[in-house]
């Protein structure tokens, strides 16, 4: 027993090292690489440079806004659909589940390939304008959010007995719209919030789609910075790690007791 505990401790330690070393390396570089050959003293200058950079705030702000719009669009599409499937047309369930599974099968690089080729000419030449490209970016992110959004909402609906709630609300005289807004939606708060934070975490760091649509997003900004500067990228990478951490902590906080939700094939 003692021996096996030692063994498991060693396994755990190895994992911790794997987790920690890249973060330590990045932190060390973000201070100007003080252990390097030049022997410069550690400095917070690079964080200062980043935080004073309009490109940093501009791209972060852009990605954040795109993320918020994606969340709204995704919720507006998924919630009524999941609600309708559960209550009115269970026959459509396989079709909806199939579509929400497709983003697993069609990787982001293939999705953006198709979007670029489809929307670079009439009838919908969206890639010709900035607004059009923004629309495509939001659309692509919304598609990426379908798998976990739909599952979160569907699980949420299953746990609240929609049927009875809807009937109760209607026998009290509420119409469909009122039932939806005042009864169903508030009951889905936890599912929607965790889906929203996951979407935000994924969208803010996403690179592939944003870069091929030539959007001024955070991912392409960091990629470019990584090629141009020595130490600032380390500071930004650590900040981005912190943002991911905050999003995950928020999800854990609101989703207490519910199962961990994991997103596969996001921004990798």
């Amino acid at each position: 027993m003692r021996f096996s505990r030692l063994l498991w401790g060693a396994v755990f330690l190895f994992g911790v090292l794997y987790f920690a070393l890249p973060l330590i390396g990045t932190f060390e570089f973000s201070l100007g690489h003080p252990t390097g050959a030049a022997g410069v003293p550690p400095s917070l200058r690079y964080y200062e440079n980043v935080l004073n950079s309009p490109q940093f705030w501009g791209s972060l702000g852009y990605s954040f806004v795109i993320g918020l719009i994606t969340i709204v669009v995704s919720i507006a599409l998924i919630v009524p659909t999941a609600f309708w499937v559960r209550l009115k047309v269970p026959r459509a369930r396989p079709l909806v589940e199939f579509i929400t599974l497709l983003p697993f099968v069609i990787p982001p690089i293939v999705l953006v390939f198709g979007l670029l080729r489809t929307f670079n000419k009439p009838p919908l030449p969206l890639t010709n304008t900035n607004q059009g490209s923004d629309i495509l970016l939001i659309a692509a992110y919304t598609i990426l959010s379908f798998p976990y959004m739909y599952r979160a909402v569907d699980t949420g609906l299953r746990s609240i007995d929609v049927q009875s709630l809807a009937e109760a609300s209607q026998s009290l005289g509420a119409g469909w719209v009122r039932t939806f807004w005042q009864v169903i939606l508030p009951n889905l708060r936890v599912a929607l919030l965790s889906g929203a934070f996951l979407t935000l975490a994924i969208v803010v760091g996403e690179y592939t789609i944003a870069s091929f649509l030539a959007r001024p997003a955070f991912g392409p900004y960091l990629s470019l910075l990584g090629g141009n500067k020595a130490y600032e990228p380390a500071a930004v990478a650590l900040i981005s790690f912190g943002l991911t951490w905050i999003a995950m902590l928020l999800i854990a906080r609101i989703g207490r007791g519910s199962r961990t939700r994991v997103a596969v094939t996001g921004a990798r």
């Binding site: 505990r5 498991w8 401790g9 755990f12 994992g15 987790f19 070393l21 890249p22 330590i24 390396g25 990045t26 690489h33 252990t35 390097g36 050959a37 599409l77 009524p80 609600f83 047309v89 579509i99 497709l102 697993f104 099968v105 990787p107 982001p108 690089i109 293939v110 999705l111 953006v112 390939f113 979007l115 080729r117 489809t118 692509a140 598609i143 379908f146 975490a201 760091g205 996403e206 690179y207 592939t208 091929f212 991912g219 990629s223 990584g226 930004v236 990478a237 790690f241 991911t244 951490w245 999003a247 995950m248 902590l249 854990a252 961990t260 994991v262 997103a263 996001g266 921004a267 990798r268």
Partner: protein, 274 residues
């Protein structure tokens, strides 16, 4: 009908763009119907991109799977303090989502030519890994970076499965005189195998579709399917539009098979958790 907005959106931004690639993959540069593009996938450049991608995905799925399983088991059943469990799961949630550009940069700062660990190994321990043939900007480097999000994902998905491995099964098998080896061989592994394999399949797909991390790490120089599609998109490196579409379709086919196997294994795994 309430499903209409969802369906119209999906058709417009998912089905039509994908169909465009499907149709294009059956046309040659003159616009005539052909199967030649699929035959041309066996040309060295596309073929090697598939082989490299499959190799990296397999290696990181298996390594990440084993490592993630051992980590999850260590904190849940390894007799380690209970606080480690919560810590590991929270950190896994973050690490599995820490990918793409920042991840690639973090590895460059750590294991790059002048990275923190590279310098530490050289100056303190006298080991010069770059003189010994290691380079981060290679298949091995990409695998090391991918493992950073692969094994936390395994931890997250396997933790509930290990929790579901009930203590009474172990006691029952001990009562009947089974050794630890026999317990694992005849009870635990057969129960866990579908979940283990299913998650590894998922990890395979996860690595296979990844683009940003490898792009940043190798500057797009490594020949992976995702990177080749990217180069084809921006510069027609294959000198054949249709072949580019076929390349993308091959990827979709491999992902499709991956997901089908995953769904099948997941159904088998769920038998034990009712």
């Amino acid at each position: 009908m309430g499903l209409l907005p969802f369906l119209i959106f999906s058709v417009l931004f998912l089905i039509i763009p994908t169909s465009y690639l499907v149709i294009g993959s059956f046309k040659n540069n003159a616009g005539e119907l052909t199967l030649q593009n699929y035959a041309d996938l066996t040309n060295p450049l596309p073929l090697n991109s598939y082989l490299n991608s499959i190799e990296i995905s397999l290696v990181t799925a298996v390594m990440g799977g084993i490592l993630g399983f051992l980590m999850a088991y260590a904190v849940i059943r390894g007799g380690l303090p209970n606080v480690l469990r919560g810590g590991l799961l929270t950190f896994s949630g973050v690490a599995s989502n820490f990918a793409g550009i920042p991840l690639a940069l973090a590895f460059i700062f750590t294991l790059g030519r002048v990275g923190f660990l590279t310098v530490f190994l050289k100056d303190v321990l006298g080991i010069n890994i770059y003189a010994n043939g290691f380079t981060l900007y290679s298949k091995l480097g990409v695998e090391l970076a991918y493992l950073y999000f692969q094994f936390p994902l395994m931890v997250l998905i396997m933790a509930p499965a290990i929790d579901g491995l009930r203590q009474d099964w172990r006691e029952a098998s001990e009562n009947m005189g089974a050794s630890t080896f026999q317990f694992w061989r005849y009870v635990a592994l057969p129960i866990l195998t579908p979940a283990l394999l299913g998650t590894m399949i998922l990890l395979f797909g996860n690595a296979f579709g990844a683009q940003a991390t490898a792009q940043q790490l190798t500057g797009g120089q490594l020949n992976l399917v995702t990177l080749l599609i990217g180069r084809q998109m921006s510069g027609d490196v294959l000198h054949n539009q249709g072949l580019g579409f076929a390349l993308a379709m091959g990827m979709v086919a491999i992902m499709g098979v991956t997901i089908l196997i995953y769904l099948w294994l997941q159904r088998r795994a769920e038998r034990w958790y009712r």
